[in-house]
């Protein structure tokens, strides 16, 4: 009978101290396990596993460049994965019923020993493809997968020489002006290059309404709607004297209840 080659592992965490801790715990619990590499982010971990082909990878969930879950997806079926996390309630509940093991930071020696025990038994089998678990995890942690549509929460605009991030909740309205779009808040006005036509697609339709070809107003900022002499609807906005005309095609927005 041939002697079994020593099992190998890669440890990935963006903090060196946490890598050191896992490695020293593993040394105690499983002296034969050889740590062949350490990675500081998800991308490095993927490259390292592909290059060194270890039996096991320990993946921290929150890492720069690529998180642990995306890294696991890239490596699914190639290697046995153990997730490591400090505190991800959602993740933990997903692991409880899954075939994939996890460790909590800071890790207790007994818990690491149990994980090593399970890994020894599993090494003879093919690594789990983790498809169900990964889909569940990405959904819960909002990483990868199908995301709900994201709207602008901040508008990047120039105020004088500076570029400011203006929270959409502070904006009263947008108005098209020559080449620019004016962003009006209670305190100041700013200019952006994006035309209203493109802007409206990125704004949350529950937060902003287009009331004219050249005007978009934040719904919560509307104080009242009246009619001007020509019989057109006019929107008054809290915190600004400017009156915004509603064009006929948007009249339905302010129909009588």
């Amino acid at each position: 009978m041939q002697p079994q080659p020593a099992p190998t592992a890669v440890v990935a965490d963006d903090e060196r101290l946490m890598r050191d801790q896992i490695i020293s715990r593993l040394k105690d619990a499983w002296p034969e396990l050889v740590i062949v590499g350490e990675a500081g982010n998800g991308r490095e971990a993927v490259a390292m596993v592909q290059g060194l082909e270890p039996d096991i990878v320990f993946l921290d969930i929150s890492m720069p460049e690529m998180n642990g879950i995306d890294a696991a997806r890239a490596l699914a079926g190639r290697v046995h994965v153990v997730f490591v996390t400090a505190h991800d309630e959602y993740a933990i509940s997903a692991f409880e019923h899954g075939a994939v093991d996890y460790l909590l930071k800071p890790s207790e020696p007994e818990r690491v020993a149990l994980t090593c025990q399970r890994l020894r038994e599993r090494l003879s089998q093919k690594p789990d493809p983790m498809s169900g678990l990964l889909a569940q995890l990405s959904q819960r942690l909002g990483a990868g997968g199908v995301k709900p549509r994201e709207y602008l929460r901040w508008v990047q605009a120039s105020v004088g020489a500076a570029i400011r991030m203006i929270p959409t909740g502070e904006i009263l309205f947008f108005r098209a002006e020559d080449k620019y779009t004016r962003v009006q808040t209670q305190r100041f006005e700013a200019l952006i290059r994006k035309p209203i036509k493109e802007l409206i697609d990125e704004l949350d339709p529950d937060e902003f309404w287009q009331i004219h070809r050249s005007t978009v107003v934040r719904v919560d900022a509307i104080e009242q709607v009246s009619r001007n002499l020509r019989g057109n609807q006019v929107v008054h906005v809290k915190g600004s004297d400017e009156k915004l005309e509603v064009s006929r095609s948007f009249n339905h927005l302010f129909k009588q209840m």
Binding site: R16, L17, Q21, S24, P64, L104, K105, R153, Q156, P167
Partner: protein
């Protein structure tokens, strides 16, 4: 009247024999006092009413009083006396009394508003002061590891953690108005910990003049900006970068900047809860005289600036 009948009994039980004889004159005195109190209350009620009521209503009531009381009860002299005194009161005290009452009401309203503000601010502050479990567990893990490999550093990190927890837990604060110095101190404890954990990936720089540390600055806001800069700016960047806390006086206002050389601000996504909380708290605390501005730095990275009116905390007397 009740008391008169019950007195002998209670006296016997109490064993005070001499009281039973005195009880009657005491009761009469009490009754007089009550009647007098009643008259005083009625008089002030009348006084208040006269002072506040409109001239038209006063004239109408006087006229009716003259007919009813003066005509039917045949007391014209008494009635006209009352009416004349009412008019004098109205002329002399009307304006002042009305102003007093308006002032009373305004004070009461202002007190309620102030109380509401204080409660709201306390609630939002508590929300902001929540310590992230991630931070706590990762720090404890790092200390645990350092105990094995580098005990002096483990001890330093633990001391920083204690210093951080002492000022970050709301129930540990002493209730006086927070100063910029305290807030910078809290952040520097946090940055020491993160610096040890992230090693070369975090280079903290503090540029806060000693003289500004006594300025009043709301609690936990600087901390939120620093945490944001690390979490959304530097941690996602593999090589990390610089984090700078700077304070200055500009146009009589205190401006505190937290800037980082991280990955920059994401215009989409829900990174803004802490920032929205700061904005709300500034509104409640300073009523429009304070603001939070986020700017994009030309070289990449983000700068967050909180500007508040410059006020110096009163010197604390030695305990």
């Amino acid at each position: 009247m009740n008391t008169d009948q019950r007195n002998p009994g209670t006296d016997n039980i109490a064993g005070r024999g001499q009281a039973s004889g005195d009880s009657r004159p005491m009761g009469i005195g009490q009754a007089f006092r009550e009647i007098r109190n009643g008259i005083v209350v009625m008089w002030w009620g009348f006084f208040d009413w006269v002072a506040v009521v409109s001239w038209k209503a006063l004239l109408l009531v006087s006229f009716l009083g003259l007919i009813l009381v003066g005509g039917i009860f045949k007391l014209p002299t008494f009635t006209s006396l009352v009416i004349v005194s009412a008019f004098i009161i109205k002329v002399v005290a009307g304006g002042k009394r009305r102003a007093e009452r308006a002032a009373d009401e305004a004070t009461k309203r202002a007190e309620t508003e102030q109380l509401e503000r204080t409660v709201l601010e306390a609630r939002m502050e508590a929300l902001q002061a929540q310590i992230e479990p991630h931070f706590l567990f990762n720090t404890l893990g790092s200390i645990d590891q350092l105990i094995q490999t580098d005990p002096p550093r483990a001890s330093r990190m633990q001391q920083s953690l204690i210093r951080y927890l002492r000022s970050a837990m709301p129930q540990m604060r002493d209730g006086s108005r927070p100063t910029l110095g305290q807030q910078v101190n809290l952040c520097s404890a946090f940055l020491e910990i993160m610096g040890m954990r992230m090693e070369g990936r975090l280079q903290p720089v503090l540029i806060v003049p000693e003289g500004l540390k006594s300025a009043i600055f709301p609690s936990m806001m600087l901390q939120t900006l620093v945490e944001n800069a690390i979490k959304h700016g530097l941690e996602p960047k593999p090589e990390g970068g610089k984090l700078e806390i700077a304070a200055e006086i500009a146009d009589g206002r205190l401006a505190v900047h937290v800037s980082d050389t991280g990955v920059g601000f994401m215009p989409k996504g829900e990174a803004g809860v802490g920032l929205a909380n700061i904005r709300e708290r500034l509104k409640v605390l300073y009523n429009g005289r304070a603001e939070l501005i986020i700017t994009v730095l030309p070289a990449g990275g983000t700068c967050a600036t909180i500007t508040v009116p410059y006020q110096v905390a009163p010197a604390t007397p030695p305990a």
